[in-house]
């Protein structure tokens, strides 16, 4: 294991910022920490870097316990959301700074910086000051500064959030490709679940200082542990409808008009109150085949995809491939694919 976080707790005074957090990160893995704002992602990342002291628990990097080591002895590199480039140094000086502290000679450090600049496309910018760079270029310098060091791990705190949408999508693949080429171990904080899903090998979903679920992206998508993860992962978000398990335990009745009954492939406790989760792509509209009739409230089409909402309570969101076949105000029949339905306990929100 490259990084081991065991039963970590962090208090800020009376505020309990991280509770019993355990994450194991093997060498070469790309781990994403996601969650809503204020859930403690940055705090966890900064704890790994040594910028925050942890209240209890164990933190190991390459098998060595680093709980009490200052940041400089942990040999990890961090890319900050604001990039935190040293404004009084040129790009080359920014990139070689950590090497020079380690005592690498100026010539060697510059040679390494040139190699990294080649990879990150900074060769022509080495003599510039950070203030004379564009946002995207600054982002590259921040990455380059981390790469030059060949650290034990890379820590990213929302590194792409200051870029425009197109560049962000482009940088996603670039960061991931760089990670693979370097054989690096990375921990990547983001509040954007799409970034987490597309980039990471292992996704950790947090809420209010607690890990709600962790695992491979598709595992979280297909088998969310609770309603929070189910709603957080996936875009557009999962639909939730109240339901009740039938007498036979093999069906669920939905609290929708005409109370559709959906067969279940597995057995559940008869009569139990549940929340039924249905992903937008597992619902479809048809002119005459389907469980219930719905009116269409709105249609959004991107050309390749059509997004519908229905005039029901609660409102349902659907996604279909291709052009929209229905328009606002149309009525259609709604088909629910029974094999993809998720069940959550109504009280505890835990998956059944």
């Amino acid at each position: 294991m490259q990084i081991e976080i065991l039963n970590l707790d962090k208090h800020y005074g009376a505020y309990h910022a991280l509770r019993d957090v355990t994450v194991q990160i093997p060498k070469g893995q790309f781990v994403a920490l996601v969650g809503p704002s204020g859930c403690g992602k940055s705090t966890l990342l900064r704890s790994i870097a040594g910028l925050e002291t942890i209240t209890s628990g164990t933190l190991k990097i390459e098998g060595e316990i680093v709980n009490d080591l200052p940041p400089r002895k942990r040999d990890v590199a961090m890319v900050f959301q604001s990039y935190a480039l040293y404004p009084h140094m040129s790009v080359a000086e920014n990139m070689t700074y950590s090497l020079r502290i380690q005592g690498v000679s100026k010539a060697d450090a510059l040679k390494r910086a040139r190699e990294v600049a080649e990879v990150t496309g900074l060769t022509d910018l080495l003599d510039r000051r950070p203030r004379d760079l564009s946002g995207g270029q600054r982002q590259r310098v921040a990455m380059g500064r981390a790469i030059v060091r060949e650290p034990k791990a890379f820590l990213f705190d929302e590194p792409l959030s200051n870029l425009d949408a197109a560049l962000r999508v482009h940088m996603r693949t670039e960061v991931r490709a760089l990670h693979d080429r370097l054989g690096a171990t990375s921990v990547y904080v983001t509040h954007d679940q799409i970034e987490a899903m597309t980039m990471a090998d292992h996704v950790v979903v947090m809420r209010q200082g607690v890990i709600e679920q962790q695992g491979a992206p598709m595992e979280l998508y297909d088998r969310p542990a609770n309603k929070f993860v189910a709603g957080f992962i996936g875009s557009p978000a999962m639909n939730f409808v109240d339901g009740k398990i039938g007498e036979d335990g093999h069906s669920v009745t939905l609290a929708l008009p005409n109370t559709p009954v959906i067969p279940l492939s597995r057995k559940a406790e008869a009569g139990r109150n549940v929340t039924v989760g249905m992903r937008p792509e597992h619902l479809s509209l048809d002119a005459n085949d389907g469980q219930i009739e719905v009116a269409i409230r709105s249609v959004e089409s991107t050309g390749s995809m059509a997004y519908y909402t229905t005039r029901t309570d609660p409102e349902l969101m659907l996604v279909e491939q291709g052009r929209n076949r229905f328009r606002t105000g149309d009525t259609a029949r709604l088909r629910i694919a029974p094999e993809n339905v998720q069940l959550f306990d109504r009280k505890t929100d835990i998956a059944i």
Binding site: R46, A49, G50, L51, P70, P71, R72, V76, A77, M78, F80, S82, A84, L85, Y86, P87, H88, Y97, S98, I101, Q102, R145, R149
Partner: protein
Amino acid sequence: MRPVKHTYLWLLAAFVFSVIYLFPLYWMYITAIKSPSEIFASPPTFWPNDPDLSIYPDVWEAREVPRYMWNSLVIAFGATGLTVVFGTGCAYVLARYRNIWVDVGLFLVLMLQVLPASVMVTPLFVGFNQIGLLGWPRTAVVLGVAAKSMPFFVVLVRAAFMTIPRELEEAGLVDGNSRIGAFIWIVLPMARNAILVCALLIFMQAFGEYIYSASIIQDQKLAPASVGLKTFLGPNSKDWNAIMAYSAMYVTPILAIFILLQRRIVAGLTAGALK
């Protein structure tokens, strides 16, 4: 073109005001090289009829200017050095730690600034006397002046430190610096201009300091130039050209420093306004 016209107007106004501000300085330099009778001539002459530069070497010798200037320099460098070394550390701590005690500390620091030197000098004299510091009067003055200029320095430099994002320091820590290393190599260079400007202002103030020196330093051999100037001023002093020559020698070095560093000073005072 209206804007151009306005530019000329502003330039003209700037010129007029500069002349008004700089006139006393000019008057000091030319009065020094006038003859005694010409000084009191009416109407006054704006350029001496018979410039006599020999007044400078005469006063330099007779009034022991080198010794007085040396004492002024010792006091100014001592006070500035003390203020910068301790004030920078203090300002940094006050900028980085936020709690009620920091606010209390800052309030007390500002309180010190409110008290005028003439009020402070008697208690200082008594206090220095009791701990035997009056045996080293220049040291005593250095301490007094440093204490007096400390609040000004701390408040301004703290403001400069507060504009430096914490993340830069954290990046420094992760990059391999110790806490002190990050302060010296990341924070200090970024606050350099502000520190330099404040130090310069304090230096100039300390170089001209009078009240503490006059009351604490009894021995003329240890007195600074500001006190030395006083020896001219008797009830019927009339050698105005000598006084002006002395003054010119006193202020010219400071003016020179100011002019040499004025770009820096302006940059330091407007730092943060740009960004």
